[in-house]
């Protein structure tokens, strides 16, 4: 076999081997925790007072037994899952550990399918509605069409327009849903999975605490809502997952995945630098 060492495709082979190798022997590396991740954990652990609407400040005391948390699986979760998976698992584990009542909604079939395949079975098995938590501390609305218009209508009553969960069970008969109806007052905390537009629906008017989770590139468009004070914290990408694992002490795989990221970043950086040195040298020769 004649190997051409200048073939740039070798770099992809090296990247693949590095990912494969570092996945087999994961090592946890030191990682700086950014402010929005610290605040995300602080909201869940200690709580926050939201006063975007100064007339009616709202105090949230952190996630405790029975805290009503709505998870809005309503962004690009299906596409970003490879970058969000471990963070969502760590946060979900923490919510369950603290005894939260989790209500899940998916805004698209794709988003529902991705959680059905990679998240829900991890926590509740292959038949979630038979799990002992179902109806007590977890309810899945599944895919309900309507997007943010739906959230706008749910603020006054969820059951008025969405009377059943994804399995057809009447929400009125589910124990967890007895005090979980008018989202503007009944929902203690909203966690958006790459969700947009929550500021105008819930934060500006009702001071509902909102946390956001997304892929690394989601930070670009979610950051301004965070810096403006609408989101109380954010967890972005596998890096955010690693940060949450560190802050919460919950063991997970995100920390180890950072070794992959670091190795790839090093290879790409070296390739860019070497390519530019070659370019500069060739320009001097001509």
């Amino acid at each position: 076999m004649n190997i051409k060492w200048k073939d740039t495709r070798l770099i992809y082979l090296v990247i693949f081997l590095v990912i494969f190798g570092t996945s087999l022997t994961p090592i946890t590396l030191p990682l700086p925790v950014v402010q929005w991740s610290k605040e995300f954990y602080k909201v869940i652990d200690e709580g926050v007072t939201v006063s975007v609407n100064p007339d009616n400040p709202r105090h949230f005391a952190g996630v405790k037994e029975g805290t009503r948390v709505m998870i809005l699986n309503s962004g690009e979760t299906a596409k970003l899952w490879g970058d969000m998976s471990e963070a969502v698992k760590a946060v979900w584990t923490d919510l369950r550990r603290r005894g939260a009542h989790i209500l899940l909604w998916s805004s698209s079939v794709d988003n529902q399918a991705i959680l059905d395949k990679y998240l829900i079975p991890y926590f509740y098995g292959l038949d979630p509605q038979s799990h002992s938590d179902y109806g007590v501390s977890f309810v899945d609305l599944g895919f309900v069409a309507g997007g943010n218009a739906l959230l706008e209508q749910w603020r006054t009553s969820l059951r008025a327009i969405t009377p059943v969960d994804r399995y057809g069970n009447s929400l009125a008969d589910i124990p967890m849903m007895q005090n979980f109806d008018a989202m503007r007052i009944d929902c203690d905390l909203i966690i958006g999975l790459d969700a947009r537009g929550l500021e105008s629906i819930y934060v500006i008017r009702y001071n509902t605490p909102v946390l956001e989770m997304g892929g690394t590139d989601s930070a670009g468009y979610l950051a301004l809502s965070y810096t403006a004070g609408y989101f109380q914290g954010m967890i972005m990408g596998q890096r955010g997952g690693a940060e949450y694992e560190f802050l919460s002490g919950i063991p997970g795989r995100a920390s180890a995945y950072m070794l992959n990221s670091m190795a790839i970043a090093l290879i790409v950086t070296v390739a860019i630098v070497v390519g530019n040195i070659q370019y500069l040298m060739s320009r001097r020769e001509t």
Binding site: R205, A265, I272
Partner: protein, 208 residues
């Protein structure tokens, strides 16, 4: 020239007024207690969304059926597109999302396919970074430095070199990238409202 501009503005006056009107109606969704008329329009819009989806699927099938009738070179692709679209529509109409076949298709084709495409896009980003990221101009050099800064910010490397590196990367992400992204979306939304207004005023051809 001045008269031409004046004529254009006069011609577009209904569009301008329509855009302003739509913004006002949309804004009234968010006020308390709100305006009942805005809520009615919002509800009507929500209810009409599935019809837009139906029309889009119909147009998709019609376009590919036309290609097959004309015996275009893309016939195999057209046949697969129509077949898969009709299959999904039929499964949805018969059993909805609870249908086991539909669920299995989503879990094993759609989910895997989406992640494969996204992974392929991510990996392919490396290709131009490695092959054509050359500092031929000062701007290109600046972009290369920003790319390396991003790589060092979102991995432990930056922190290992100096704590200021991830801080600088976060600043770029929040303020520069965040602001430009918001500007993009705001301008996109304004453009979308203008387009909808022109469609309502029958100023846009609706034929695909």
């Amino acid at each position: 020239m001045g008269q031409q501009s004046q004529t254009n503005i006069v011609q577009e006056l209904p569009t301008i007024l329509g855009v302003i009107g739509l913004f006002i109606i949309a804004s009234l969704y968010w006020t308390e207690p709100g305006w009942e008329g805005a809520l009615v329009i919002r509800n009507a819009t929500t209810l009409s969304l599935p019809f837009a989806t139906i029309i889009t699927v119909g147009l998709l099938i019609r376009r590919h059926a036309r290609n097959i009738i004309r015996r275009e070179e893309t016939t195999p692709y057209d046949a697969i597109t129509i077949g898969s679209a009709v299959l999904i529509v039929l499964l949805g109409l018969v059993g909805g999302m609870a249908d086991p076949t539909m669920a299995a298709l989503y879990a094993n084709v759609n989910v895997i396919g989406t992640m494969a495409v996204i992974s392929a896009i991510s990996i392919s980003v490396f290709s131009p970074m490695i092959r054509i990221y050359r500092a031929k101009t000062p701007i290109m050099g600046f972009l290369i430095l920003l790319s390396i800064l991003a790589l060092f910010t979102y991995t432990p490397i930056g922190e290992m070199i100096h704590p200021a590196i991830p801080r600088l990367g976060d600043f770029v992400q929040i303020w520069i990238s965040g602001a430009s992204d918001s500007a993009f979306w705001i301008s996109t939304y304004i453009g979308a409202v203008a387009l909808i207004t022109r469609m309502i005023l029958l100023k846009e051809r609706l034929r695909p």
